[in-house]
């Protein structure tokens, strides 16, 4: 232990001795899970403030939970977005497609077709529904778990799979880890592996849009664990200072790899409450309730469009599967958590809602799921014609040196020559099929 400064005696009078608090999740592997401590207000019970509301007046919403879909599978209260059945079916379709896609790609990684994959199972509403509440040309700055946005925006699945396989068809030229998509055409920012960096960038984009008197807003997604990064706090500060037309979506899926949300501060307050200290509007939303997700994102989008200010939304949800193909969650959390999760499953809840209002049935659901799976399977086959990762040598070696700069400086030209020469030495007959 450190000595006190020379000659000094104890001056503090702490009683008892100081002790360090280290957060601990409620359940570990093998534990019986009881989520009764989670407060789940009745659907429809949360008021919906005016979109231009002063953040201080909506303080309670940062601690509540906006919910629309009730136990009776009906939509309730002021947050009901009153979407027509076609829109609801579309929403369900995108969510089902996202799930089918995840299943197939996860399996593809297990079969050795690529190096890595990440599912968003249980969190589909937080990207699909939120994205539907935005305009198609609003700029999104996602993290790695928002494949639902691309699917909702109509990005071709084959492009996604080509990227995942890093194959000849990959528009990102095999440079990025699987799922680190980019599509300027779909106003979808290039995904970074470095957590939370996208959040202040979204604010900057929104500031630029405001500077230019544009009509487009920006939205960013970030995991609850990643809100601990300084970048997220930069985002909040700049958003509030410049009243930027931006939405900060925090996906609180309870886990950050093996670390529960307590390591990002959840033992003390909500993530939505981060908004209050910055003077941002803060909403806390049932992230497994597709209608609530839509309604909250639309509220924030309207607010931003009206120059009324940025919003921080916490989507309270659950990461139903492992962090990624590199992770086995049975080593750190109770397997019961998923089934005991008090907010259910977003796909099931939306499906049951559509059935409850007489706009859907089990047969159609079964058919839709089957068609989604078949479609993904078919597109996967098409993508495989462009190659799977294998040893990865799908792209002309020169492409490795392109885009480092706009123009190739002499040293990269020399290195590119070297790379091509090495390729010819190793494969005089040309690259092997992988």
């Amino acid at each position: 232990m450190a000595d006190r400064p020379e000659g000094s005696a104890a001056q503090g009078d702490n009683r008892p001795k100081l002790s360090l608090h280290v957060p601990e999740p409620k359940f570990r592997p093998g534990d019986t899970v009881d989520f009764s401590h989670i407060d789940v207000p009745a659907a429809g019970s949360t008021p919906r403030p005016d979109e231009a509301c002063d953040p201080a007046e909506m303080r309670d919403l940062a601690f509540g939970l906006v919910r629309v879909l009730g136990d009776d599978d009906k939509a309730h209260g002021p947050w009901d977005p009153k979407l027509d059945p076609d829109t609801l079916r579309k929403m369900l379709g995108h969510m089902a497609m996202t799930r089918a896609f995840d299943e197939r790609m996860f399996r593809g990684q297990r079969q050795g077709k690529t190096s890595f994959y990440m599912k968003c199972t249980g969190e589909e509403a937080t990207s699909v529904s939120a994205s539907m509440a935005l305009a198609g040309d609003d700029m999104v700055f996602p993290s790695y778990r928002q494949q639902g946005i691309l699917i909702q925006r109509g990005y071709p699945l084959i492009e996604m799979i080509n990227q995942i396989y890093s194959n000849k068809g990959d528009k990102l030229k095999g440079r990025q880890l699987p799922i680190m998509y980019s599509s300027r055409e779909h106003s979808f920012f290039t995904i970074s592996g470095n957590l939370a960096t996208q959040t202040p960038q979204a604010v900057g984009w929104a500031m630029a849009s405001a500077m230019k008197g544009d009509s487009r807003i920006a939205a960013t997604w970030v995991g609850e664990g990643s809100t601990a990064e300084g970048d997220f706090h930069s985002a909040c500060t700049f958003a509030t200072v410049y009243n930027a037309p931006v939405i900060l979506n925090v996906i609180n899926n309870q886990w950050a790899i093996s670390s529960f949300s307590g390591f990002a501060g959840a033992e003390r307050t909500t993530f939505a409450a981060r908004a209050l200290g910055y003077g941002l509007a803060g909403l806390r939303v049932d992230g497994n309730d597709a209608l609530a997700c839509y309604a909250a994102e639309r509220w924030a989008a309207n607010r931003a469009r009206a120059n009324a200010g940025p919003t921080l939304i916490e989507f309270f949800t659950y990461r139903a599967e492992g962090h990624s193909t590199s992770d086995d969650p049975s080593g750190y959390r109770s397997a019961q958590e998923r089934s005991e999760w008090p907010l259910g499953d977003p796909v099931m809840r939306l499906k049951n809602h559509l059935i409850a209002i007489g706009e859907w049935d089990e047969e159609r659901q079964e058919k839709m799921d089957l068609e989604a799976a078949e479609h993904v399977k078919k597109v996967t086959k098409e993508a495989e014609a462009n190659g799977i990762l294998g040893h990865g040598l799908h792209h002309p070696f020169r492409t490795m040196f392109e885009d480092v700069f706009e123009e190739l400086p002499w040293h990269l030209r020399e290195q590119a020559d070297q790379a091509v020469h090495e390729r010819q030495t190793k494969f005089p007959e040309g690259l092997p099929e992988a």
């Binding site: 232990m1 450190a2 360090l20 280290v22 957060p23 601990e24 570990r28 190096s115 890595f116 890093s166 194959n167 990959d170 030229k173 095999g174 440079r175 990025q176 880890l177 699987p178 680190m180 970074s192 592996g193 470095n194 957590l195 939370a196 664990g225 990643s226 601990a228 990064e229 300084g230 970048d231 950050a256 790899i257 093996s258 670390s259 390591f263 990002a264 501060g265 590199s326 080593g331 750190y332 990762l389 040893h391 990865g392 040598l393 799908h394 792209h395 070696f397 492409t399 490795m400 040196f401 480092v404 040293h411 990269l412 290195q415 070297q418 790379a419 090495e422 390729r423 030495t425 190793k426």
Partner: protein
């Protein structure tokens, strides 16, 4: 193992044939250090209950308790900063940064703070931290799980940079780092966590257990910082390498029948300049190999030093083999990696006349 290393071991421990991979050896070093000194604390993302994404801290929380081995918020700036604060109190923090690619948010705390506390307080305050972090590529990790940023740290006055290449060294060096009173960056070559690497991605990986350097004695031993390891002896040329590349150059020399003085530098700062000079003066030829990008890489420093200090002994220009000056690509990983062809050609060029 060099003679000096063997000499440091008590006779009883030399009998010990316990074989560990590099992960287990690192875990063992942490265990031994924590057992000897209550002030050693381990922290980082997922290092506690789970034991780290590469399992380097497995079992330590159970053994030493949550206040000595704990998870942290995902905030690398904060991880390094609180380690500086704990060091100022008198602890010996061993923070883990999950991947070297994620150390950058902590750079201000490392460069402006940890590296200079001793200097700016004239020794009143020190930063005795050891920042452990897996680095390097070869695992299809793409540009954010593959980088070798060691030169960023060797460029900073006040930081030591250490990189082991074997399980035996990893343990002995890590214990030295933890006991060192200055801040140390300890980069772990993740490609060789489970076994050395010949450079041929299309050949099966051999586990560490098959190699002598996996014999890791129980208990306490140190490998001094600033001392290189002689990997092979040879008269034809000197090869300077560290981390994964030590094994790749060794395999290339074996394959080509080249007799090289291969030096595993182990510590980049402070560097074992005496051993380097003695070797180059003997062989008259020097190849430097690292996986990191070339421009302003540590190889540039080594090349300058060898040229400045051994110029009149050199019979050929100093050569560097490195990664290319691009981000680490995902699919073209093996086109990027400085493998047997690039190394072999450089050796041929140096030996040409």
């Amino acid at each position: 193992m060099s003679e000096t290393e063997t000499k440091e071991l008590p006779a009883a421990e030399q009998q010990d044939e316990r074989r560990l991979n590099m992960i287990e050896a690192i875990n063992d070093a942490l265990d031994v250090s924590m057992g000897r000194d209550d002030d050693v604390v381990v922290m980082g993302e997922d290092v506690g209950y789970f034991g780290g994404v590469f399992r380097c801290t497995a079992g330590l929380q159970e053994k030493y308790g949550k206040t000595r081995v704990f998870d942290t918020p995902i905030n690398e700036c904060g991880i390094i900063a609180v380690a500086v604060g704990m060091g100022a109190y008198g602890l010996r923090p061993v923070p883990e940064i999950q991947f070297a690619d994620y150390i950058y948010p902590g750079l201000d705390q490392l460069i402006s703070e940890a590296a200079r506390l001793r200097y700016r307080s004239a020794g009143e305050y020190i930063a005795p931290l050891t920042v452990r972090s897996p680095f390097g590529g070869g695992i299809f990790g793409g540009q954010t799980h593959s980088q070798s940023p060691e030169a960023i740290f060797t460029h900073v006055s006040g930081l030591k940079t250490v990189i082991p290449a074997t399980p035996y060294d990893a343990k002995g060096l890590l214990i030295s780092c933890i006991e060192d009173n200055d801040p140390v960056i300890f980069f772990e070559p993740k490609r060789i966590y489970n076994g050395p690497f010949s450079g041929y991605y299309d050949k099966p990986v051999q586990p560490w257990k098959k190699f002598d350097a996996s014999v890791v004695p129980e208990g306490y031993y140190k490998i001094p910082l600033g001392k290189a390891r002689q990997v092979t002896e040879g008269e034809q040329l000197t090869i300077l390498a560290y981390g994964t590349m030590v094994h790749v150059v060794e395999a290339v020399c074996r394959e080509k029948g080249v007799e090289a003085d291969i030096l595993d530098l182990r510590t980049l700062v402070p560097l074992d300049i005496e051993t380097i000079e003695a070797s180059v003066e003997r062989t008259g030829r020097c190849l430097i190999v690292h996986e990191a990008t070339r421009t302003s890489g540590f190889g540039a420093e080594l090349s300058a030093l060898v040229t400045e200090r051994c110029f009149y002994h050199l019979e050929a220009p100093v050569e560097r083999v490195t990664g290319f000056d691009t981000p680490y690509p995902h699919s073209l990983e093996w086109a990027y990696f400085p493998g047997p062809i690039r190394i072999g050609e450089a050796i041929d060029k140096i030996l040409k006349d």
